[in-house]
Point group: C2
Chain length 384, copies 2
Amino acid sequence: MPKEILKCRYCGFESLGNRYYWRCPKCGKPLIITYEDFKAPTISELRRAVSKLSSIWVFSKWLPQVSDMVTLGEGLTPIVRKVLRGVNVYFKLDYLNPTGSFKDRGASLTISKVLSLGLRSVVEDSSGNAGVSITCYGVVAGLSVRVYAPKTSLRSKLDLIRALGGKVVETKDRYEANVKALNGLSENEVYVGHLWNPYFIEGLKTLAYELAIQLGKVLSNETYVLIPTSSGGNLLGCYKGFKEAIEGGVVIDLPKLIAIQAQSPAPIYEGFHNVKLNYEETTLADGLRVKNPPRLNEIINALRESRGGVIIVTDQEILRALKALLKMGFIVEPTSATAYAAFNKLVDDGVLGRGDNVVLVLTGSGLKSINDLLRWCVRQGSYT
Amino acid sequence: MPKEILKCRYCGFESLGNRYYWRCPKCGKPLIITYEDFKAPTISELRRAVSKLSSIWVFSKWLPQVSDMVTLGEGLTPIVRKVLRGVNVYFKLDYLNPTGSFKDRGASLTISKVLSLGLRSVVEDSSGNAGVSITCYGVVAGLSVRVYAPKTSLRSKLDLIRALGGKVVETKDRYEANVKALNGLSENEVYVGHLWNPYFIEGLKTLAYELAIQLGKVLSNETYVLIPTSSGGNLLGCYKGFKEAIEGGVVIDLPKLIAIQAQSPAPIYEGFHNVKLNYEETTLADGLRVKNPPRLNEIINALRESRGGVIIVTDQEILRALKALLKMGFIVEPTSATAYAAFNKLVDDGVLGRGDNVVLVLTGSGLKSINDLLRWCVRQGSYT
């Protein structure tokens, strides 16, 4: 494993990865991870790695240093290709992760690092999936885990956190979850919130490595990668992973990164276009409720550099997309369906057409909310 | 793809795979699949195949002929190693399949074959997971799907079948589901019930291929492979896959196959030991309710040839195992927990000890039944 450096791009602060910082201790901005001795992956190295079929840790040569790996087989998720409306659509099934969401990539790395540093208690704020994931890995590592989550979270996600042995603190909304998590932090607890956590992004970059192996030359600057985006971890992880894959010669050029948001909150859309929207908050995309992503600037820069953009979708579009995905056999949650809703918009608008390539990242499982799925998706009277 | 032959080992009937038979049309016994032109896989062929990270269809060189592949990214599931009570335990996380169970391997192959043969309607009987899986793949293929399931099935599994667009017929018990599925069959419908279906087993054999790549020389006749077993598809699939992997030089020797059953029904235990038990039926292991497996003889032969056996576990042992697995981060259902319960028995009995190797196949996801998980697993008063 290469030696990582926690770095602040705002004030220049640097620290070796032998202490956990959730943000810059000098200026308070989000940190990123660079390496002292990083050698980018080649295609043959990546292929040899994944043939082990175990977890993101097959990529440990390009991940931060840890002495203990807390793994549940996260990552190495399948890709399914379909031709839809003339477009080559590659569905990346990242909901087939151990706890049912892409967050497991970030949680595995974060908890491994926390454990390696000898820390014992972690605090997270989440609308659900990240809370489940951090709890699951945290409990496996023997840590105590406290999760702040809005009381409007899906009941089944909060139940699962509890069943796994995590402590849930319910808050008024997503914003209060974040504020209370930070304010409630005691001396010996470490805040691993994925909104800030630089290790989380480092785990998430493995998604781009996998896309690089699975898609090879399909990935170019003409390829669209659609990512449901809230605090931006998955998007920034993909951006970083693709950049490294380009450096290693695995990918030719950065694909167009497209952040997908609900109609509200849509801070990335608003920031990217410098507008203020005034829509009602989504009731379906429970994973897209972050109103103040600390890494907003980084996200906008990544979108611009990749010549990508932001798309917002309405709840009605999400519901239609969710039903369509279910008919295709993809049992996902509404947050993931935003990617398919956005795909349809891009085709409707003529941006995507015959022969184009697009990657849809499906981020969260629908199995956690089967009752809701049925309520959302089944026509009245189709029961037997 | 090699050309498959549907074969009856009892009366010698043979048919090329250009017509679907769910059992021998001459003598009524279960069919198996052999090939005209099968060349067993080598280790380098398997490694090259899985580096594509897509689905069981990376093994198509060793699977029956189909013209349409109906795939949702099934298979290529991770393995996690832990040292427990001194034993090297390899957890095969086959619950991380598209619909949350190992059945997807069999369903993908079956539905692909059915579609390739131009058939349009399938009928299945199931306690839940196989019904979800056949429905999901069937609907994706544009088939109509009817599933007979006991009314005591987990509500969430039946709900999911309906949400996916399948028709559920509830029956008194697992036996009646089987009988009614067969009796209710109309001319243009095909019975794909996994209790009989030879293609199902052919899909399931890919699990053994993966274990062969993932474990390599760890697999020997001293290695135990623990498989929750109801109608025996997974066990027979593993048996067949291991035999082929031995033929190709990937595995040295057949590992000891251990079928795990609930305390009741336990027809494999009873058949293997030639006894009659008189316990109460399991209320937890809902996936282990087949009382009359049509392939009982095949199962017993496979167990004997591998110098394996059968273990039965009580509901109390299952519950304890389920809680322990959850603490290890494996979010599974009680049926899967039987494997861990059986592991503990083998250690208690001194059969397994320090340095031994054992594979535990975890077959079904716990995400389908989060509410029950919480009810089963959380101590009173642990809520916040």
